[in-house]
Symmetry: C2
Subunit: 362 residues, 2 copies
C-alpha cells in the first residue's frame, strides 16, 4: 500500500481534518469492526471459557504489538488502562521516602504531575522541577528517580539523550511515553530507560482504557505490584500464598475486555499490515516538519520541537483559534496554561489536512 | 413487562441454558447495541471534546446506576475496572503494618486472597483466616480490617449480620460484593460496611473491565488514592498542587471508554426500565431456591446457602459434570479446590433453563 492510501482506513478523515491523535488517535474502521465482532460473540454465545480463551489470546497479541512498538520483549510489557496507570504503578512500587528526591520537568502532563504531587504530600518525597533540557544535569546524590516525558506533550521536544547515562548510573528513569509509542520509533534499550509508560488510545489508535508499561527486566523483582489480582497471579488458587508472575504481567490491569483488546490489536494491524510502522513514522515526521515550516513561513512562532508528530505554535488566543478551527472541521487543541495551539500529525494525515489548517492562518 | 419476558432481551438464552452470571452476566442485545453505537460515533466523528463530553455524561449515569444498586449516594461510589481493583485500592490506602491484623474467611475468591497475601508479605500485616460464619466473633484488639465476601462465591451464603456491629465499633469492614451487587438487594447503610467492592460484568450485565467501589463518606479523607490521575483531580492544571476530588471520584479508574460505559448503562437499563430491580431480585432468588429444592429432591447435597442467586451442590467429579453440561449447552461451572458445581440463576432465566440442568442429574 502507498502510504498516502492509509487515510482511507479512517472514516473520520472523510470530512474532518483530524489533527488530534495526541489526545486520541483516529479509529480505523477495521478496529471498530473487530470490537463489534467480539460484542456479537459475547452476546450470542455468552461469556464463559471460550470468551476468556479469546480474551487471553487477544491480550497476548496486544502485548506483542505494544512490545514491538517500544523495542522490548513481550515479557517486559504490562497491559495497563492508560499512561497514568503505568506511572502510578511505578511510583507506588518504588520505596520512596522523605530523604529521596525525584527530578521532573516544567512541562509535564497532569497525568504525571498529579501522581508526583500526591507522592510529595503522602510520603514527603521531594519533587524538583527543572527545565526539560536540563533533566540530566539536575541529578544529584538524593535523586532516586527521574520522571519525565519522552516526547513533551507541550511542544514535541524529545527528552535529553543524556538520560541514558543517568539510567546507566543506576538511577531509574521513568519515561512518560504518551506522545512517543506509536508516534516515533521507540527502543527502550537504546533509550536506556527503566520504565516506559504509554497510551493505547493515542498514536496506537486503540480504545480509551488501554496502555502499556515497560519494566526493565532487572526491575521485575524490585518493583512490587500495587496488589496482585487474578491475572497477575501465577497460581491464583493458592490463596494467601499465591505468587505473582515473575514478568511484567504482575503489573497488568485487573481486567481488559476481549472487545477492547480486539480493538487495540486491529488498530495496530491497520498500520502494521499495510504501510508498516517504519513508513508510518517517516511519513508523519515529514508531514509534521512540513507543517512547522509552513507555519514559520506564515510568520508564526513555532515552539522548539524534535523530529516528532507534534507541532505547537503561538497564537494570541489559542482557545479562540481552536474554536474557529473546529467550526471549519479542523481538529486541533489548545493547551491550558500555554500560549500554543497544538496539531498532532499522523501517517493517516495528508497535505489536504495541513492545507485546511494553514488556510486558517492569517 | 412480565418478568418471564425479560429473557428475550438476552440472545444467549435462545440456545443456551446460561447459568453462569456469577462469572459474567448474559449480554443484553440493547447493551451491545449501545456500545456499537458509541463505536460508530468514535469512528466517524473522532474522539475529541464531544467524545469526552459523552464519556463523562455516560460515566455519571453509570455511577448513578451502580449507586442505586448498593443503596448509596453517587458521591460515594467510584467507577473501577473490577471488584479486585476496588479491593486493591482499599488495601493500598489503609495504613497497615506488622502490628495489624486483617480477618478474612476460608472461602474467599483469589481476587481478595491475592491482594491480602501480597499485603501480608510486603507489609508483614497478619492475615487471619476463619470460617465464614465466625468472622464477627474473630475480631480482636489487633484487628484493623475485616475483609470478606458479602455473598460467598463458593456456595451463596451471606456474610454474618453481626459484621454490622463490627463496623459500628469503628473497625472497617470491606465487603467483596462480586456476587452481591445486582444479584440481591444491597443497602450499604443497612449492612453498615465501610467499603463495598463489586463487579460490573456479572450481575449487572456490563462489560469486562467495569466495577464499583463504595466508600463510606466518613472515610473519604482517610483513604488516600493510590495515585490520582486526570479524572481523580479537582484541578488537573495545578501541577504538583493539584488536589483530588473530595468524593469517591478520587478512586475512579484512570480511564473508561464511552463505549464501555454505554454498555454498562444500557445493561442496567435492560432491567431497570423493564421489570425493575426489585422484581428481578425476587424472581432470581425464587428460581434459585426452586433449583436448590429440586436438586435436594434428586438426592444431591446442596451446599448451605442464603437467599441469593448461587446454588452449589456436590458432584463426585465436578469438572466432568461441567463438561457434560456444556456438551448439552448448559453453562455452569466447577470451583477448583471445592467439591461443587455452581449454577448462577438470574431473572433472565426460567424454568426451562433449570429443567435442562436438572435433566443432567442422574
Amino acid at each position: 500500500m502507498e502510504p498516502s492510501s492509509l487515510r482511507a482506513a479512517y472514516p473520520v478523515l472523510r470530512e474532518i481534518a483530524y489533527l488530534n491523535a495526541g489526545t486520541c488517535g483516529p479509529v480505523a474502521e477495521a478496529a471498530a469492526d473487530a470490537a463489534r465482532a467480539e460484542l456479537h460473540v459475547a452476546t450470542d454465545d455468552g461469556r464463559w471459557m471460550p470468551y476468556f480463551e479469546r480474551m487471553i489470546d487477544l491480550q497476548a497479541r496486544q502485548r506483542a504489538a505494544y512490545a514491538a512498538r517500544v523495542g522490548a520483549s513481550p515479557d517486559d510489557v504490562a497491559l495497563t488502562t492508560s499512561t497514568s496507570e503505568g506511572i502510578v504503578r511505578v511510583l507506588a512500587g518504588l520505596d520512596l521516602g522523605p530523604e529521596d528526591e525525584i527530578i521532573t520537568s516544567d512541562e509535564e502532563h497532569p497525568g504525571l504531575m498529579g501522581p508526583l504531587g500526591h507522592l510529595a504530600r503522602r510520603l514527603l518525597t521531594h519533587v524538583r522541577i527543572v527545565p526539560f533540557d536540563q533533566l540530566a544535569e539536575a541529578v544529584g546524590p538524593a535523586t532516586k528517580l527521574v520522571a519525565c516525558s519522552h516526547v513533551s506533550w507541550v511542544n514535541g521536544q524529545v527528552a535529553p539523550a543524556a538520560l541514558r547515562e543517568v539510567a546507566d548510573s543506576g538511577i531509574p528513569v521513568l519515561l512518560d511515553g504518551a506522545q512517543g509509542a506509536g508516534a516515533i520509533p521507540v527502543d527502550v534499550n537504546e533509550l536506556g530507560c527503566t520504565f516506559y509508560a504509554a497510551a493505547g488510545q493515542k498514536w496506537l489508535g486503540g480504545p480509551v482504557g488501554t496502555g502499556l508499561l515497560y519494566v526493565d527486566p532487572q526491575w521485575h523483582e524490585r518493583l512490587p505490584s500495587i496488589g496482585p489480582t487474578y491475572l497477575n497471579l501465577k497460581d491464583p488458587g493458592a490463596g494467601l500464598d499465591a505468587e505473582q508472575h515473575v514478568d511484567a504481567r504482575r503489573h497488568d490491569a485487573s481486567a481488559l475486555s476481549a472487545e477492547a483488546s480486539a480493538f487495540a490489536v486491529a488498530a495496530h494491524e491497520a498500520i502494521d499490515a499495510t504501510i508498516g510502522w517504519p513508513a508510518a513514522y517517516e511519513r508523519s515526521a515529514t508531514l509534521a516538519q512540513r507543517l512547522a515550516d509552513e507555519l514559520a513561513t506564515r510568520g508564526r512562532k513555532v515552539a522548539p520541537r524534535g523530529r516528532t508528530t507534534l507541532v505547537s505554535w503561538v497564537e494570541e488566543d489559542p482557545a479562540a483559534f481552536t474554536q474557529r478551527a473546529l467550526a471549519h472541521r479542523v481538529v486541533v487543541r489548545d493547551l491550558p496554561g500555554w500560549p500554543y495551539v497544538r496539531a498532532s500529525v499522523g501517517a493517516w494525515n495528508d497535505e489536504s489536512d495541513l492545507e485546511r489548517l494553514l488556510a486558517l492562518i492569517a
